[in-house]
Symmetry: D2
């Protein structure tokens, strides 16, 4: 059994909840889940036990009610049992057309963390999955600085994700083991502050930023070129979509969160730097969750011949990430069982855009998958 708590009951979390129940009910095939039903922990053993959000219109509703906004089909009845609790926002919804409400509105950070830990001790999750909206953040770097920020209630200097990850560490310490899956760009698995804390607290961290969309595909196409020693002259990659995440990225501050990411996949995969333009480009509401991607790559082949590739796609953003989460919660439980606390590169390298720990780089995904299978062992 893997008990799961969700942080941020938006598109991804709703599709995760719906798809998981439909698979458990035998309604659909487990497409989009890399490890299928081949892990020792089966789909049937995954159970969502709690969910948090800060959107006033969601708090106290059931996942069943909220999920209706994200999927036109028949929502599984089992989702009626899970009520959405109030989380922390810390301005994570700033500039978005959403009325937010958080635990910290009436409490100090420290009290809010204590409240979360108390609730989790009652819900007993193995894995806590963070799928909040992209935040504007600054990594802490040192554990002391992180603790001081909480203690001194410096709420301007911390984001919701950072508070949740801190609470997860306290919770893990108390119960003897837990996993925090960070599927958004805020650096957690890449912030030594959190990794150090996790090691001391029996916390496993998976992160950062779930590897969906054009980036993993770009990584594999660049690997393809690199293996043939074709010299990449330039890379342009555009993304445009209509979900809340694209809306959030129209905010410059959030977009700047990319500044803290490690050197890009480009150098990691190619072995050299090359001019590139890779970033979310715009918000276009009618595209909904099915974003449009466009990528242009120009490279030099043998005898100075110049080739070009253009890749276009329509890709459903939330299901792609939701499918990965079905693996991540099971791998999270396995990591706890194996007591591999801290962060786990063999998992991160395949599932994350920015695989922690900080000093590690991006691998071609096809190779990362081989590494992952080795870690798992008996696949």
């Amino acid at each position: 059994m893997v008990k799961v708590v969700i942080l941020g009951q938006g598109y991804v979390a709703s599709i995760f909840a719906i798809g998981l129940e439909r698979i458990k009910n035998g309604e659909i095939k487990p497409y989009g889940i890399p490890l299928k039903n081949e892990l020792p922990i089966k789909f049937e053993e995954i159970k969502i036990v709690g969910s948090y959000d800060v959107d006033k219109s969601k708090i106290e509703k059931s996942i069943f009610e909220v999920a209706k906004n994200y999927w036109p089909g028949k929502i599984p009845e089992t989702l009626k049992d899970i009520k959405i609790k109030k989380g922390v926002h810390l301005k994570s919804l700033r500039n978005l057309p959403i009325e937010a409400e958080g635990l910290e509105d009436g409490l100090s950070l420290k009290e809010a963390v204590e409240r979360l830990v108390e609730e989790w001790k009652s819900l007993k999750p193995d894995v806590i999955v963070n799928v909040c909206t992209t935040e504007s953040f600054v990594p802490f770097g040192s554990k002391d600085k992180l603790i001081e920020t909480i203690e001194k209630d410096k709420r301007e200097e911390i984001t919701a994700t950072q508070v949740y990850a801190y609470a997860a560490a306290l919770y893990a310490k108390e119960v003897g083991g837990a996993t925090f899956v960070n599927a958004i760009p805020t650096l957690i698995a890449n912030d030594p502050a959190f990794v150090e804390l996790a090691k001391e607290s029996n916390l496993v961290i998976f992160g950062d930023d779930g590897a969906t969309g054009a980036t993993p595909l770009t990584a594999d196409i660049l690997s393809h070129l690199a293996q043939r020693n074709r010299y990449v002259k330039s890379i342009a990659q555009f993304n445009i979509g209509g979900n809340t995440d694209f809306l959030a990225l129209t905010d410059d501050e959030r977009n700047k969160s990319k500044e803290f990411t490690k050197s890009s996949i480009v150098k990691d995969i190619l072995g050299y730097e090359t001019p590139h333009f890779i970033k979310p480009t715009g918000f276009l509401e009618p595209l909904g969750d099915k974003k449009f991607i466009s990528m242009h790559i120009e490279y030099i082949s043998f005898n100075e011949a110049v080739d070009e590739l253009v890749i276009n796609g329509r890709i459903n953003d939330s299901p792609a990430l939701a499918g990965l989460i079905v693996d991540l919660v099971r791998l999270g439980k396995m990591a706890i069982q194996r007591k591999e606390f801290g962060t786990l590169y063999p998992v991160n390298a395949f599932y994350m855009k920015n695989p922690g720990p900080k000093e590690m780089c991006n691998l071609p995904r096809i190779l990362a998958f081989e590494k992952l299978k080795q870690w798992i062992g008996n696949l």
Copy 2:
């Protein structure tokens, strides 16, 4: 030192010769050569010692003169030294606007083979590279049938490539070792007749059909999807180009040569069969050697979401293959030194569209590259 004989002095062979000399002269970087200059055998050690063709307008000319038709730049002077000899055609240029002339016009097959072997004993190639025009062929299956066809001069039942491969085996036997690189679709490494003969004759065979163009990229993109357990609903892949090879493929008989290829990459990579349309589609002269490719892939992701990818490209056909040949001739020499006669899957799996031997299947190229590096050893 690797001595090379070329069979078919067309686009690929000319670009190979030009590019190789330019690299040796330090004029250009070795882009498009997967193993770069990292093999124990260096670029500088590769030497073209002979070339064969059946186009009347090429025979007795130098590579220098012929190469002018394929590249607008300054052709290296060193290519003036190699005269093109008369090969065998066996109607390989049927329906093409080329006047052909072959050794077999005045000789029996057996005599033609003997002539080739004699010439090669004087040229002393380590590696014989077949880059003829795509042929309409039937594999032999058994060595006896192959030998009988030559002996009884059944010239309707054999192609130029098959005659060349047979001659290569006789030559290898006499000199103690040689490699035959088959870069076209005719089954050689996948025909047990030739593999058996090669083992007995100290011949290494690399084949079949150099892995250039859209197919290896398709393989890696399908691997990418398969690793995420996305279910591929359909694949369409078009190719159109303006070189002689596309012209040759407008001939139905040649296009049928695909019927003898093994089950497609689709099943090998995905693990299941799915509807697909993958074939060269047409000839359009102004595109020249830089073909246009278009690929559409539709797949099912988590919770039944349907995604689409469209990949377009302009890809120089001949340089892509020529770059691989720079590796294959060096690997061919290494295989002779290691006495690994027969055919070599770890090489074929990366470099060939249809990697022999017959019973082996297609691997994701990124994994094949890892296998290749293991075979080489000290990379």
Copy 3:
């Protein structure tokens, strides 16, 4: 009021019937109908009074029942009233996985024509719309030859469409006016035999081959380039789909029907011939009615600069044609009222891929639309 008889109750006819009823019911907007509700004849006045097919499994069923196979939504109840009658096939379904049955199985051609005319005199259609499967055909050229073929029952030398058009002429003569809309490639509006007959018989012919899919878009893009005097070097256009029409086109004989079409749009629009590859390319069942198109255009701009365009699309084939038919049946009635018998280029030039009469050529569609509006008058 416009009364309509349909020939060929397949995908297009079913979507036409469904969409029309839904628009009349106010369920949906009239998107995809070029002239919207701006004609003197309103959508509400269009009434399907009869339908013909030769698929055994459809004959005697209602449109309601048949339409279920082509659309997953709620089929309008009004379609229960129209039973599908037996038409003529003349091997139009040859090589397709459909069991066919036609009037001519038990009758001479002449008798079959008489039967159709009798039935139509009872159904009283203003407009007869031909949306049969693409046929392999030879145009007649002369009216005498056409009449002789019917009289002498030379059923090997005539197609279903040609028989229907002949019957339409007899019917129009008897009732004083009717329109035959030929939406498939068989030449009717481009065959002087039929145009002459139509003029004598009070028949209006619209044809040939409804202008849907990539071709009209190609025409407008080529116009765009021509107006800037950009020299088009080459054009490649691929189409692949999964409906019966694509399946039918895998039959070489049918594909040859293109041989009889007039000089292509390329020369008509550009004013010069240029190398091009434009044809349906393949059948891929999972694509269904939503075909994938890919087009590559390379052209020369000022100072010899070379530009490239690649257009990809997913386009629903049948709705595109069905939307045009909503206009064509209304224009057909208007043409009868105006007694413009024969064929009408101002209508054909916008709505047809191969606008008749034979001596007329393709116009940029945007200009053709202006011509159409002039013909209509008060738009």
Copy 4:
């Protein structure tokens, strides 16, 4: 004879000068020039008599020397005769890696204008072509405000283009007629201040912003959809390139110059507003002058079917505009001869992205071309 002065000797002006001379020499065909050699004024009659720039490294050099930076071929010798004079910059190169120097550095605006008028009276141009770098600007709206700005030397409130256009009006008044072609986004033909001034001063203004790149193509594709009453749900259009203009647009202030443009082509062509994202997206140096464009359009067809189009292109930016300028200078001379002072919508509607005067809108380009031909008369 048409005498031409160029403002801004960058990429466009250099390609214009080179291509024009090559055409006059019979070296190349006049591709990319919409009206070919069919105007009463022939290519041979166009003569560049002067050129201005503010890049210190260009001033006092000949066009021949400067043009080398923009084209690898043989530069026509005739371009050695034209020396580049110092223009005005007014911070138009702010934030660009270029050292600028302008007449206004040592003079008041009024004096700088007088200097320009004096020089032009000696060079005697018929047509003054503005192809400066994109500027950050505010339109004047009223002639009085414009005059006051010059008189009072408010140099913070005016751009180089606005100063040039003002000088052109003074010059035209003195010599009895001239044309100012504004090929960049700064509003001149759309600013009533300049149009009023032009009418009083015998000046013809063509503008604003030469219609090259993806926008005119988008306009024609949208027209195509609109004529079929397909409802466009969303439009995304990306552009990325490596020339100075793309570099300039990475500056937010310049990009804001778009705020002053009229309601977009989307509404003008479709007749309704629809969500769209259309703007230059980024700078990628290796793409050079050959930008990459990507466009996604989703629309509703008959019976609620949803179709998609994706258009990708590699388009040479400067030759596209240079080709239009060959027409514009000839049309400019014709307009002077016809005394059609002020601004000319029939010319602007085809050649300009933002056709003046202010109150006029965008037409489908194919229709605009018909209007243009009517204005010209005897084509």
